[in-house]
Symmetry: C2
Subunit: 304 residues, 2 copies
């Protein structure tokens, strides 16, 4: 039996009855997860002496979270993010050795099948914001180039909105999929990332307000990088010196992911193009980890 | 600090960071609830070493639960019921002294503003099932009559469906609101309750299947009884000798709530009417508790 017994499970017949009912769960992992869920859920209700009105408020809140979800909005991921659960799960599934690029939260705004771009192209799609040239390399743990990695990148625009938050857009904006070159190099134009508030017009926004929390995230650019033989990396790059780096609403900041984004006056950009307005540059290398060949091969291992 | 510290909260920076962020919650009770939720949720994820795929599966499941809810179906209440949480919350909010009628789960099928009936009328509304005469008294803790209590009653039909589960019904069936007489007496015709499965066509049904559990509830009739000066009572009366009394899918059975439902051959019923087909009778008295005048007067006390 587990540590939860210290909380006195054996003295609570209803908890014992539910655990007994779960005993015939066919799959061992499902059984372990459900039993732990019941123990912790019941311990929470007992510790707080949850009232019936509070229980009903929780039911109503969770219902509203579910009903706020659409094919363009995932309010349950947002809820998990603001409760720090997403970052905890990220943490315990990615023990990054020194020198490796750390993971952070996936967030609710990724879109599968974003448009594909050639290296050097502009992924902004007309999104508002000052232009930003992003370049870097995808490397292995010993600094060797990882060729041809697939790089999925997405970000909010200068007004703080992802394209999926805007009604009636004819095309994707500020998101795209690229493929690194044989030396692991990648480069593209986008817009500079700015701090923005997570959506506050739904139940998660009401939760933040009820707990006296601000909804802001520091400026960042999302990356998901996949290459054969390596663990898939889901992370952000944050802007050094920006606001909210020490109070990210979703607890996603790691010091190793903060980089210098440099603003330039009009002139010749790194790709040789002439820029008539100020622009930014970001140079960041990602260090992937080898795929864990001996990792537990549960059928439910990450595939999302 | 609380028992959760024994689980090692202080060694988990992400949990500490979330708890610190909650520190400015204006309402003390909200703060206590949210902090306990974060500690138990994080402890669950750590204890199980929840994977990212499992986290995503949980997000998808909860989203589906929310999206299954309509104005006639509350899948989150059903989820709470099958996890034993509803019964735990009922338990810890109603410490019934000996002789008092015990509470049980509210369930997802109550409807506010059900049709009103005079004593002795038939609330079945044409629902399928053998007729059943129900009578009894509403009493106080010393056996004194409680006059004019409002009695809300609801149940499934012979095929196991509540009216709200049937599409296109022109009127309510097998539910109604009555008012007891000056002596606390009540009486009405309905149909006999039968065992039925909770809805299995949604995510909660899939959860039961994944955990090897049957979805059946033993035959019961729901009551919600309210009278000035007394604590509102939410309970069922179960049929003695029926199936599933020892394996109710929602853990709602209490021995004190099991009663004799008696089947009669055609003849004269207790209300003097002539019955040409077999019918049933149930006689059950309810003993209410005085309203807890000195109970903590939190604004969120039961009102649902």
């Amino acid at each position: 039996m587990s540590a939860a017994d210290a909380e006195g499970t054996e003295h609570h017949p209803i908890t014992e009855a539910v655990l007994a009912r779960l005993a015939s769960t066919p799959d061992a992992r499902t059984h372990a997860l459900m039993a732990a869920l019941v123990r912790h859920l019941h311990a929470f209700a007992r510790e707080t002496r949850l009232t019936e009105a509070e229980w009903f408020q929780a039911v109503s809140f969770l219902t509203a979270v579910g009903q706020t979800c659409t094919d363009r909005r995932q309010e349950f991921i947002l809820l998990s993010d603001v409760l720090g659960l997403s970052m905890l799960v990220t943490d315990q599934n990615h023990a990054t050795p020194p020198g490796g690029t750390e993971s952070t939260v996936f967030g609710p705004f990724h879109v599968p099948d974003a448009p594909r771009f050639a290296l050097g192209e502009d992924i902004s799609g007309g999104a508002a914001g000052e232009p930003c040239w992003v370049q870097g390399r995808v490397l292995g743990p010993r600094g060797e180039p990882v060729p041809h990695a697939q790089i999925d990148v997405w970000q909010a625009d200068a007004e703080g909105f992802y394209d999926v938050q805007r009604e009636g857009l004819a095309q994707a904006q500020a998101r795209g999929v690229l493929r690194a070159d044989a030396d692991g190099g990648f480069r593209f134009w986008t817009i500079v990332a700015e701090a923005y508030p997570i959506p506050t017009d739904g139940p998660v926004g009401r939760l933040l307000e009820a707990t006296g929390r601000h909804p802001w995230r520091p400026a960042h650019l999302h990356f998901m990088i996949a290459a054969p033989g390596h663990e898939r990396l889901i992370t952000h790059v944050f802007r050094r010196g920006g606001r909210y780096l020490d109070s990210d609403a979703v607890f996603g900041v790691r010091p190793s992911l903060i980089a210098d984004w440099i603003r330039h006056e009009p002139g010749t950009a790194p790709d040789g193009t002439r820029r008539d307005a100020p622009y930014w540059t970001l140079d960041f290398d990602f260090v992937l980890q080898p795929a864990a060949a001996s990792a537990p091969a549960r059928p439910e291992e990450p595939s999302a």
